[in-house]
């Protein structure tokens, strides 16, 4: 995640701020700590994969990349927090995720697979910001954008008006534990 809390919201420059604004600034400083807590992201990942896919998904040390094709979904944050939630998956895992969501089988990363991965990223962003009350109420989400291909890099522009130096969270890797048979989460 790349993020920065807006300066106007966290530390007003004018001397005559009311109590409510001061209270909000204190509350937001606490929120910044929550934003930086990687356990919130881990919990969001586990929640989304368990509820939507019925799959256990836990943090795992990154493995050496053997797959060149990947699918990356990006959901932007706007309002109190500027930044983006980025979800990146190897193509084979993306096919499995989409199969689990839809009950269909996929041979390649088509529009349905991209749609599914975009929704996973959307739910991750929503679950993550929902764990920080000020963000849940004052931070909007963009619709997902999805990138596929080989050997690409992603750069998210930092917000110009951020009070905190923009920082990119260290990428966190997760491993799914797939059931023996890949089937839809909500079969007919």
């Amino acid at each position: 995640m790349l993020n920065g809390v807006r300066e106007a919201a966290i530390a007003g420059k004018n001397g005559g701020r009311c109590e409510r604004e001061r209270g909000m600034a204190v509350s937001l400083r606490e929120s910044v700590q929550q934003v930086s807590d990687p356990r919130n992201l881990d919990a969001s990942v586990e929640e989304v994969f368990q509820m939507m896919l019925g799959v256990e998904c836990r943090r795992h040390a990154p493995t050496a990349a053997v797959e060149t094709e990947s699918v990356t979904a990006v959901v932007g944050f706007g309002g109190l927090l500027s930044g983006a939630c980025v979800f990146r998956s190897g193509a084979r895992a993306a096919l499995k995720i989409a199969a689990r969501m839809t009950g269909m089988e996929f041979q390649s990363v088509d529009d349905t697979v991209k749609d599914g991965i975009g929704e996973i990223c959307n739910m991750l962003a929503g679950a993550w910001k929902g764990k920080v009350p000020e963000l849940a109420a004052n931070c909007g989400l963009s619709v997902p954008a999805v990138i596929t291909g080989h050997d690409y890099n992603l750069h998210v522009q930092a917000a110009a008006a951020a009070a905190l130096p923009p920082r990119q969270s260290a990428p966190r890797s997760y491993r799914h534990r797939w059931p023996s048979a890949c089937r839809a989460m909500h079969p007919k």
């Binding site: 509820m51 969501m101 975009g118 929704e119 909500h186």
Partner: protein, 127 residues
Amino acid sequence: MGEIRTLIVDDSAVMRKIVERSLRQAGLELLVVHEVGSGTEALEILRAQPVDLILSDINMPAMDGLEFLRQMRAQNLAVGVPVVMITTESSEEHVKQAIQAGARGYIRKPFTAEQVKERVLPLVSAA
């Protein structure tokens, strides 16, 4: 319970399918489902045919779910039809806005089929 004409509004086709499957799992077997990807398309459907149940996302391009609800009420479309929002937005403020706009239920993504059943079935049974 007879045939339930349902309108599912979400810009993700995958999510529309998941919602539909969750409804069938909830026991709503006689579903006639209209799927659309935006509030604008949903209004067109409602002008053309009656429905018994509406499930809508909030964050959508073109016209979001809250504006869709407001437009629906302003145009006297689907009067009395229960609307359930299914969305990643989970704050009290969003719930309040949805209720004010006319929603009767609210489901946060990610969700389970059981949650869909709990929130939707009473609304359909009461209609």
